[in-house]
Symmetry: C2
Subunit: 148 residues, 2 copies
């Protein structure tokens, strides 16, 4: 489904501009793709979707934009246990951390937020004297539909 050419600037774009990052046509497009994604996309999928909106966008620009977003802590990088290849998947960094459960059979990825995980982070900070900046939790297993 095509996206309107002139879209309300999303949170990512606003965040970057607030930090004084130069906003180009290409970046706006790529950020839009990431913000409106309904699933976790990898670099190639982001490229394909971006090129539907602006065919001149280059693969390299996608990588550079992803790197920029990572540097600013605005996206998280996942590999979803490599169920679908060796690349990485991206999602806007959420307010609260969440876990990713990937079904080893059907490949579906479900997210889960948990108080217990927040407590676990607290425990790590205290016990390990480790100041957590980002987390990444991926679990492989079988979802309700696929479990035998």
């Amino acid at each position: 489904m095509p996206m309107p050419k002139t879209e309300a600037p999303g949170r990512l774009q606003a965040e970057l501009m607030a930090r004084g990052v130069r906003m180009t046509r290409q970046r706006r497009t790529i950020l839009g793709v990431i913000e409106t994604a309904k699933t976790h996309l990898d670099a190639s999928q982001i490229l394909r979707k971006a090129q539907r909106l602006d065919p001149s966008i280059d693969r390299v620009t996608v990588y550079r934009t992803l790197k920029l977003l990572k540097r600013h802590g605005l996206v998280d990088e996942l590999d979803l246990l490599h169920l679908r290849g060796d690349g990485h998947y991206y999602e806007r960094r959420p307010q609260r951390d969440h876990l990713h459960m990937a079904c080893l059979r059907c490949g579906k990825v479900v997210e889960f937020e948990s108080r217990l995980f927040e407590r676990l982070k607290g425990e790590v900070e205290r016990e390990c004297h480790f100041h957590i900046m980002l987390t990444r939790v991926e679990m492989g297993g079988y979802c309700a539909n696929c479990r035998t």
Copy 2:
């Protein structure tokens, strides 16, 4: 430090043989490297260490052996947040799952076992109707020495 040529068969080797997997000289060497590793090694590091014991070992054989071990659930694959490149790191699958804390400044990786994490898995199994087979937890942040 060089390893004795004839080593007591480690747990990995025993596990594979119990499952009827053919045991070759090369595999024995590679399994030995993984079992005696003191840190998380990537494919290239495993290759280098294996070649010190048997220079004829090929990179491809390392990848094939790692794939075999993954298929049998005998090693876990990590990427340690790509602090040291885009490859993957391997560790023998532990009795109890643990978390990996990687320092964004010095790169040190610390492991942590937690009851709370076991409870979290239980919660996921119940709430999400998801049967967990493997987990992977990586946290980036600053260790006691590096935190400002």
